[in-house]
């Protein structure tokens, strides 16, 4: 295979990930935890948004469900954070099963609006049932003094997501998902069980974000509805996938690295225009680079040409069917 092998990237990234807590400062560990959480979110979003082509504005809903399930378990029953994260992942999957069956009957803008609305409903519930969730005041968890265990868990999950995406990209399953993205009716007519695959992808893409929500709450030591269901979390995740390249193995990794560093610089220097800057990055990517940074690598021969031809991602592909 010509160009950079994703497996080699995974190995390099793995070594780098192990090295960070050994040589880096506490700040480096803390920054890396955030980066890796976003990386996991980006890979999850990539499955449903990049490969299957369903614009998912509700992923932060699963993140929030996970954050609350994990925090409440930890807060009320003293469940340690790693077990709470597993419980949160299960809760995410359990919510995604009925939701996926229902919501994926919708397409395109309907799905986007429905999921967007759902995340807001969940936020309203978290605010409204304040006897359980603490409402707007939030929940304060026992602070964790040593972040390294959380770091290693998040890094492992991120590595698993990278490898799973690599497997997916090289499998018939990945091709089937791309076929759904390109033309769902045609895929259906070729005998691809589109509904089953979509629902399955939806559920799979909900598990890791829920776990990340729980770990994020443990990492912050605090959770409230605006943090758990933050729309800017959603935007940043999507921006990472878009910037790196939707429906590619390395896209989310590249996007998350670039955008995390950009974010950190912006956040440190211009916190008041941080969100607008992320918005501008998404806009510029949509307008001028809808195929992401990875596609530049493919063009210049650094990366093997991916199978995804991005027909539906290119803005210049002629008129949309009316």
């Amino acid at each position: 295979m010509k160009g950079i092998n994703p497996l080699a990237v995974a190995i390099v990234a793995g070594i780098a990930a192990i090295a960070v807590p050994l040589v880096g400062s506490d700040y480096a560990v803390s920054f890396s935890i955030q980066l890796l959480i976003f990386l996991v979110l980006a890979y999850s979003w990539n499955w449903i948004g990049g490969y299957t082509g369903y614009t998912h504005f509700g992923q932060v809903g699963f993140f929030g469900i996970g954050a609350y399930v994990g925090s409440l378990l930890n807060f009320h029953w003293g469940v340690p954070w790693y077990l709470a994260a597993i419980a949160a992942a299960l809760a995410g999957a359990a919510t995604a099963v009925p939701l996926g069956g229902a919501m994926l009957r919708l397409k395109g803008p309907f799905f986007a609006i429905g999921m967007f609305g759902l995340a807001r409903v969940l936020e309203a519930f978290a605010l409204g049932f304040d006897s359980i969730t603490g409402g707007g005041t939030g929940i304060y968890l026992k602070p964790i003094s040593d972040l390294k265990p959380i770091y290693y868990v998040v890094a492992t999950v991120a590595m698993i997501m990278l490898l799973l995406t690599w497997k997916l990209d090289n499998s018939r399953l990945g091709l089937k998902l791309l076929a759904i993205r390109e033309d769902e009716n045609a895929a259906e007519s070729l005998g691809i069980p589109t509904t089953r695959l979509k629902v399955g992808t939806f559920i799979a893409s909900a598990v890791a974000p829920a776990a990340m929500g729980s770990l994020y709450a443990a990492y912050l030591g605090f959770i409230d509805p605006p943090t758990a269901f933050a729309p800017n979390m959603e935007l940043t995740t999507i921006a990472m996938v878009l910037l790196g390249g939707m429906g590619t193995v390395l896209g989310p990794l590249v996007g998350a690295l670039v955008l995390s560093i950009v974010n950190e610089v912006l956040w440190a220097n211009y916190p008041q225009v941080y969100l607008a800057c992320v918005g501008v990055i998404v806009l510029l990517a949509v307008l001028f680079m809808p195929r992401g940074i990875v596609s530049l690598g493919m063009k210049s021969g650094w990366l093997g040409i991916g199978r995804p031809s991005f027909r539906r991602l290119a803005a210049d592909s002629g008129r949309a069917p009316s």
């Binding site: 609006i113 609305g117 409204g128 935007l235 008041q272 969100l275 607008a276 307008l287 809808p290 069917p321």
Partner: protein, 287 residues
């Protein structure tokens, strides 16, 4: 609180939803673009109204004239600079673009007006008795204006040359193009009209609501609910659904509290999405 109070309160609230949702629906119908920034244009319009009336001490009618025109101009700019390049592409791109635009507008609004609440006290204060119920004048006027504008735009769509052009672009862009309709110009005009309607709705909510830069996200989700319940692309459906949802929201809030009450709207929207995705009066838009 008797039922009549709730019903009238709900219908009055629904008027503003109708104006906002009609603009959103118009844009979706013609461009197949879901404008996530629609609510933020409303918020910016409302905050500008406060600035004009309180900050510059100009009369309220100046805002009524200037703000919607300003919003329409902003809309035209957005259409030319951003949406024109991507509206024929895959839907995921326009969804992402308007979503990003929404956060940019919120952030700009926070930079200009700060994150806190502001209001417009003293404009159209006082109340009237309607059917034995005390109704605040500002809500009554905003309802009358909102429904008036919505119906006027509907009339334009139904009975003028421009309206026929809009409807034909909405129904079949290729055929409209073949028939000599300048699609790009119709889309530009429609987008400007739609954002202008959002701006007008913003002016109307200014005297009646507490305003902050996040106002948009609370309104957009309600406008989404309205056009889904009413039927995407259906103009009368949107007006009907707006009044219905206004009542549902007010009654729901009365019985279970404001936070969960507004969640009722979303649950109704989700239920409609699942049971009848085309909405009450929708013709079933193919996407």
């Amino acid at each position: 609180m008797p039922l009549a109070d709730l019903l009238i309160g709900g219908i009055l609230l629904g008027g503003v939803y109708a104006l906002m949702a009609c603009g959103l629906n118009l844009i979706f119908g013609v461009m197949r673009v879901i404008n996530f920034a629609h609510g933020d244009i409303l918020a910016i319009a409302a905050l500008s109204t406060v600035s004009i009336a309180v900050g510059l001490k100009m009369p309220f009618w100046v805002a009524i004239v200037a703000v919607p025109i300003g919003c329409a101009a902003l809309g035209a700019l957005i259409q030319v600079v951003i949406l024109r390049r991507i509206e024929d592409g895959p839907m995921i791109m326009s969804l992402l673009a308007t979503y990003a635009l929404s956060t940019i507008l919120v952030n700009i609004a926070i930079l200009i007006w700060g994150g806190g609440y502001s209001g417009l006290p003293g404009v159209l204060s006082g109340s009237l008795r309607v059917l034995g119920v005390n109704v605040s004048l500002s809500r009554l006027v905003s309802f009358a204006c909102a429904i008036g504008i919505s119906l006027a735009v509907w009339w334009v769509l139904e009975f003028t040359r421009f309206g026929r052009a809009v409807r034909s672009v909405s129904a079949a862009p290729e055929l409209a193009s073949i028939s000599g309709i300048a699609i790009d110009r119709v889309r530009l005009a429609t987008f400007a009209l739609g954002t202008g309607m959002a701006g007008f709705a913003g002016v109307l909510v200014a005297p009646a609501f507490a305003l902050d830069p996040q106002l948009g996200s609370r309104f957009i989700i309600k406008a989404f609910a309205v056009i889904i319940v009413g039927g995407m692309g259906s103009y009368p459906g949107a007006i009907l659904a707006a009044l219905l949802l206004g009542v549902v929201e007010v009654v729901g809030s009365y019985f279970v509290g404001a936070v969960i009450g507004s969640a009722f709207l979303f649950l109704l929207m989700l239920a409609v999405l699942l049971v009848r995705p085309r909405g009450l009066l929708g013709a079933g838009v193919r996407v």
